[in-house]
C-alpha cells in the first residue's frame, strides 16, 4: 500500500550516490553542509580514435616501425605518436594531454583530459551510512511532508505561504517578494498564474496538486516544482497544512527523487520523539489516517473506522476489499482499500 509521511521530529534519510563507481570523500559520522562533495569519479573528458594505417598511408605490416609511443603511455599535447618520414613527413601528434588507451588494427585511441563526476549533499546533516564506491546516506531530523510528484529539481530557501488573490485584478501587480523562496500556494495554479509566480524567481513552488495542463511546463521549468497530492484540483489536508504552517519563514529543503518522481519537503530541526531504530512499519488499520484517491472524494482525508472482511461490490460492478472511512466532516465512505493512501502522521493528528 502506498504511504506518505507527514510528521514533525521525523528522521529523514537521503541517499546520494554516483551513477558509476568512484571515491567516497566522507566518513560515517561526519557533518556535511549543503553542497559538500560526498563522492566523485574521474573519467576521461574525451577520446580520439586515429587510424594511422589509413591516414599516414602506412602498410599494416610496417606499422610498428612508425609508432613512437606504446600503449598505456601518458602523452603531452604535441607529442609525436606516429611519424612517417619521407619527402613530406606525416605526423600524428597528441592534440591534448592524455594517455594512449588502445593500439589495435592500426588505430590509436587517446583518452584526453579528465572530467569529474561529483555528487553533493542536497541538505545538511550527518553521514549515517557509506555506500562503498558510490556515495553516502545523510541523516537528519526535522519536519517532513512527502509529496507524490516533482519535476526532478532540488531546492532550498525560506518557506512562505503565498496569500494572494489571483482573481483580484488590483493585486496582480503586487505579488509579494518571492526571490529564492520556497513558495506554497493553495490556489488553483493555471499556466498563466504559474508564469506569474515563476517571474518572481522563487527557489521552488509547492502545490496541493497540479492541473494536467501545467505538467509539461512544470517539467521544463528551471524552478523546482512539487505536487503534494498528484494531479487535478485537490485541496490540501489539514495535517499537511498545519505542518507547512510551522515551516513559515524557516529554511526548508525540497528533495526530489527525480523527474516525474515523488519528493519531500524537509525543515531541519531538533530530534523528536521518533527514532528510526524503534520505528515500526505503519500498516493500514482502524484509526489510520488516509487520503482518498478517487472521485468524487479525490484528495480528501479521514480515518479508517471499519475494515470489513468481506469484499464489496461497487457502482462500477467491480468487487474489492473495502475500508470505511470517516471524513473530517463526519461523512462515512466505503472505499476500496487499494484506493487509499496511508498517511503516517503525528499521533496527536
Amino acid at each position: 500500500m502506498s504511504k506518505v509521511i507527514i510528521q514533525s521530529g521525523q528522521p529523514v534519510y537521503k541517499q546520494v550516490r554516483l551513477p558509476q563507481p568512484g571515491t567516497v570523500l566522507v566518513r560515517t559520522g561526519q557533518e556535511v553542509e549543503v553542497g559538500d562533495v560526498l563522492a566523485e569519479a574521474v573519467i576521461p573528458r574525451e577520446f580520439q580514435v586515429f587510424d594511422i594505417v589509413n591516414h599516414l598511408r602506412i602498410p599494416p605490416n610496417r606499422l610498428e616501425q612508425y609508432l613512437k609511443r606504446l600503449n598505456g603511455e601518458a602523452v603531452k599535447k604535441g607529442d609525436v605518436i606516429a611519424q612517417k618520414p619521407g619527402l613530406i613527413t606525416r605526423i600524428f601528434r597528441a592534440s591534448q594531454d592524455g594517455k594512449i588507451v588502445s593500439m589495435r588494427e592500426g588505430r590509436v585511441t587517446l583518452a584526453m583530459g579528465e572530467r569529474k563526476l561529483q555528487v553533493r549533499a542536497p541538505i545538511a546533516g550527518t553521514v549515517v551510512e557509506l555506500i562503498p564506491g558510490f556515495g553516502a546516506v545523510i541523516g537528519l531530523t526535522g519536519n517532513l511532508v512527502q509529496g507524490l510528484w516533482s519535476n526532478g529539481l532540488n531546492a532550498s530557501g525560506s518557506f512562505t505561504r503565498l496569500e494572494f488573490d489571483f482573481n483580484d485584478p488590483q493585486q496582480r501587480e503586487h505579488l509579494p517578494e518571492l526571490v529564492d523562496k520556497v513558495v506554497y500556494s493553495g490556489a488553483i495554479i493555471t499556466p498563466e498564474r504559474f508564469r506569474l509566480i515563476i517571474a518572481g524567481k522563487p527557489a521552488a513552488i509547492v502545490l496541493p496538486s497540479l492541473v494536467p495542463g501545467l505538467i509539461k511546463e512544470a517539467l521544463k521549468s528551471p524552478v523546482a516544482v512539487m505536487s503534494l497530492n498528484g494531479f487535478g484540483d485537490q485541496v490540501i489536508d489539514p495535517v499537511s497544512l498545519e505542518l507547512l504552517g510551522e515551516m513559515q519563514d524557516h529554511e526548508v529543503f525540497l528533495l526530489s527523487d527525480g523527474k516525474d518522481q515523488p519528493a519531500e519537503l524537509v525543515m531541519p530541526g531538533e530530534g523528536g520523539q521518533n527514532s528510526a531504530l524503534f520505528d515500526e512499519e505503519v500498516t493500514l488499520g482502524l484509526g489510520s489516517m488516509v487520503r482518498l484517491l478517487g472521485e468524487p472524494y479525490l484528495g480528501s482525508t479521514g480515518r479508517v473506522v471499519e475494515l470489513p472482511d468481506q469484499a464489496e461490490r461497487f457502482a462500477s460492478g467491480l468487487t474489492a476489499k473495502v475500508a470505511v472511512v470517516e471524513r473530517h466532516d463526519g461523512e462515512l465512505i466505503r472505499v476500496p482499500v487499494t484506493n487509499l493512501l496511508l498517511m503516517e502522521v503525528n499521533p496527536k493528528d
Binding site: 580514435v49 589495435r104 495542463g213 457502482a315
Partner: protein, 568 residues
C-alpha cells in the same frame, strides 16, 4: 509427496506463484498465491517477499519450499520440493540497449525485433553504413549509458572492417568506464568475427556469442540468439535487483523475461493449432500493454508503455462512454499512473479506465506493426490479418467484467473475419513458459485442460454498405428439437447471440454479396460451430474504422449502447 513444479513471476506490482501437480496422470494447476513485489530496497525485503509467497503455497499444499525455520534454503536439500522451479520477471526498468549493425534492413531491424521480447529499451542504434568516424562512434557508445550491447550485421564471410572498428570501440567502452552494473554484450553477426570479438573485447562471462541472426540475405532467425539474450538478461537482472541472485541460486532456477516466457507458449499454440492463423496474446496491465504474436513460425512481441500527451488523451476521451471534462479525464490518467493498484469504483472512473485501455491497446498494436510490417495491423482498419485465438490477460482484464473486457479488446483490436477471444485469467501462459524447458508435457497437458475462459466468438463483417442496410443473415441451429433462429444484421450493428451452455452452437452465415465474414471472399458464407462462451457470439458489423458520431453526447450514447448489447 507427489511430483510438482513451481513457477514464479515477479511482476511490476505483484509477484505470483503457481504450483503444478499431477492429478489422475495429468498435470494441472494445484494452487496459486501472490504478494506485492518488493524489488526496490535491500535484498532482505526481496527475499522476505519471496519467502512469504512460498510460505503461502507451502501452507496450503503438499510441497516443501522452505526450511524448518520457514526460510528460503537450497531447494535441492528439501525432501518433497518441486522437481524444478521456473522464474520470470517483468519488474524492473527496461534494459537500456544499443543495437549495432551493418545496415538498417538486414541487421538493425531484425535486432529491434529480437530485443523487443526481452524488456529492452533501445537507447542507441549504430548503423555502420552511416560511416561515422571512429571517434564519434566511440563517443556515442560511451555517453548513452547502455546496459546491453547487441551486435549483428554482416553475412558470414562478408566485409569485416567496420565490424572490427566497432568491436575495438566496445572493448574500450567495456574496460575504460567503471560501472555499477557490468554491461552485457551479445554478438550475433558475421560468424567469422565471433571469436575475434570475444578475444578482443575480453568481457569474460559478460560476452554472449550466438549464431548469425541473418541466416541468409533478407532472412532472419531471432530464435538462434534467444539463448544468448536470456543469459545477458539474467546477468543484468541479477546485478540490478538486490537479493535476486541469492534467491535464484537457492531455488536452482533461472530468471527469464515474462513476455518471453509467455511468448514460448504463444509460439507453441500457433505451431499446434493448424488453422493457418496466427495466435495473439495481449497482456493489458495498469501501465503497459504487452503484445505477443506468433504467425508463420515467427514470434514477435513487445511491451508498450504509452506516454501521456494531449493527442492520446483526446483520442481516449473520444472512446469514453461517460461524458467527462478534459481536465478530470486527464487528472484521472495522471493520478492512475501514480497508483497502479487503483480500482475504478464508480462508473465514471470505469468509463475513463476502459477508454484509456482501448487507446493503449491500439498504440501497442501500432508499435508492433512498426516493428514488424508483416504483423497485419492498420491503425484505422484494425487487425487485418487473421489471428485465432486472441488471448487476453493482465490486471486491466481482471478488473473488467467479461463483456466489458471483451468490449474494450474488440474496440482496441478491431479484428476482421472470425476469431475466438479467450481470457487467461490466471496468467498461465507466463507461468508455463518458464517451466516448459523442464517438462514440455506439463505445458501441453495444462493447456489441453481448457484453462482459458472462452469469452466470445467474434464475427466481423467487412462491408462498405451504408448504415442500416442488411449485410448478413444468420441462422442459428441449437439442436434438432429446437426451432431455428434467424438474425438479420445491418451495417452499423453490434449484435450478441447467446451460445448453448456446455454445448456447441451452429450458425449458418449468409453474407450479402459485398459483405466479407472472413471465409475467403465477399459474399461467401457457410456453417460455423462455436463453443459455449461467457459473452456468446458477437457479430460486429460496425465497419472499419469505427464510425462514431462527432457529437460527444451522441458518441457516448452509441458506445454505451454497444456495451449494453454485450451485457450491460
Amino acid at each position: 509427496m507427489p511430483k510438482t513444479y513451481l513457477s514464479l513471476d515477479i511482476g511490476k506490482s505483484q509477484t505470483q506463484a503457481w504450483l503444478f501437480a499431477q492429478k489422475d496422470g495429468t498435470w494441472a494447476v494445484q494452487g496459486t498465491a501472490s504478494v506485492p513485489s518488493a524489488i526496490e530496497g535491500d535484498g532482505d525485503q526481496f527475499r522476505k517477499s519471496i519467502q512469504k509467497l512460498l510460505s503461502q503455497i507451502e501452507q496450503s499444499h503438499e510441497v516443501r519450499l522452505l526450511d524448518d525455520h520457514g526460510k528460503i534454503t537450497n531447494i535441492r536439500r528439501l525432501d518433497g520440493a518441486p522437481a524444478s522451479i521456473g522464474m520470470s520477471m517483468s519488474a524492473g526498468k527496461p534494459l537500456r540497449t544499443a543495437l549495432i549493425g551493418l545496415s538498417e534492413a538486414y541487421s538493425i531491424a531484425p535486432l529491434r525485433r529480437l530485443v523487443s521480447l526481452f524488456n529492452c529499451e533501445v537507447v542507441l542504434e549504430v548503423n555502420l553504413q552511416e560511416n561515422l568516424n571512429a571517434t564519434t562512434q566511440l563517443d556515442r557508445l560511451l555517453t548513452s549509458d547502455v546496459e546491453l550491447y547487441v551486435i549483428g550485421g554482416g553475412a558470414n564471410g562478408g566485409a569485416q572492417k567496420a565490424l572490427k572498428t566497432v568491436i575495438d570501440n566496445l572493448r574500450l567502452v567495456y574496460h575504460l568506464i567503471p560501472r555499477a552494473i557490468r554491461p552485457q554484450i551479445v554478438y550475433c553477426g558475421n560468424q567469422e568475427l565471433a571469436e575475434y570479438a570475444q578475444s578482443e573485447i575480453e568481457a569474460g562471462l559478460d560476452m554472449h556469442l550466438a549464431s548469425n541472426i541473418q541466416t541468409n540475405p533478407g532472412q532472419e532467425d531471432p530464435s538462434l540468439v534467444w539463448k544468448a539474450m536470456l543469459k545477458a538478461f539474467e546477468r543484468l537482472r541479477l546485478q540490478q535487483i538486490p537479493g535476486l541472485a541469492e534467491v535464484v541460486s537457492d531455488l536452482r532456477t533461472h530468471v527469464i523475461p515474462s513476455d518471453f516466457s509467455a511468448g514460448r507458449m504463444v509460439r507453441f499454440l500457433e505451431r499446434s493449432s493448424g488453422n493457418g492463423k496466427g495466435v495473439l496474446m495481449l497482456r493489458v496491465d495498469a501501465d503497459t500493454v504487452s503484445v505477443i504474436a506468433a504467425r508463420d513460425q515467427k514470434l514477435d512481441g513487445l511491451c508498450h508503455r504509452l506516454d501521456v500527451n494531449d493527442e492520446v488523451l483526446t483520442a481516449a476521451k473520444a472512446l469514453s462512454i461517460q461524458i467527462t471534462d478534459m481536465n478530470s479525464f486527464a487528472a484521472y490518467i495522471y493520478n492512475r499512473a501514480l497508483f497502479p493498484e487503483y480500482i475504478p469504483a464508480t462508473l465514471e472512473d470505469l468509463g475513463i479506465e476502459h477508454s484509456w485501455a482501448r487507446v493503449r491497446i491500439r498504440e501497442a498494436l501500432a508499435a508492433l506493426q512498426e516493428l514488424d510490417p508483416d504483423f497485419g495491423y492498420n491503425p484505422s482498419l484494425g487487425l487485418v490479418r487473421a489471428y485465432e485465438p486472441i488471448i487476453l490477460s493482465g490486471s486491466e482484464m481482471r478488473l473488467a467484467l467479461p463483456h466489458q473486457g471483451l468490449m474494450l479488446a474488440l474496440d482496441g483490436i478491431l479484428p476482421h473475419g472470425i476469431t475466438t477471444i479467450l481470457q487467461d485469467e490466471q496468467s498461465l501462459l507466463t507461468a508455463l513458459g518458464s517451466l516448459a524447458p523442464y517438462d514440455p508435457m506439463l505445458a501441453v497437458q495444462v493447456l489441453d485442460n481448457q484453462v482459458f475462459t472462452n469469452l466470445a466468438t467474434i464475427i466481423s463483417v467487412g462491408t462498405q454498405t451504408s448504415e442500416g442496410q442488411k449485410v448478413l443473415q444468420i441462422e442459428v441451429n441449437e439442436g434438432e428439437q429446437m426451432p431455428r433462429l434467424y438474425h438479420k444484421i445491418q451495417a452499423g450493428d453490434l449484435k450478441r447471440i447467446e451460445t448453448l451452455v456446455n454445448s456447441k452452437t451452429e450458425l449458418y452465415l449468409s453474407p450479402q454479396d459485398d459483405s466479407d465474414v472472413g471465409m475467403g471472399l465477399p459474399g461467401l458464407g457457410g456453417w460455423v460451430t462455436v463453443l459455449d462462451s461467457k459473452v456468446g457470439v458477437v457479430v460486429d458489423a460496425r465497419g472499419r474504422p469505427l464510425n462514431l458520431p462527432v457529437d460527444e453526447i451522441a458518441r457516448a450514447e452509441k458506445l454505451h449502447n454497444w456495451l449494453w448489447e454485450l451485457g450491460g
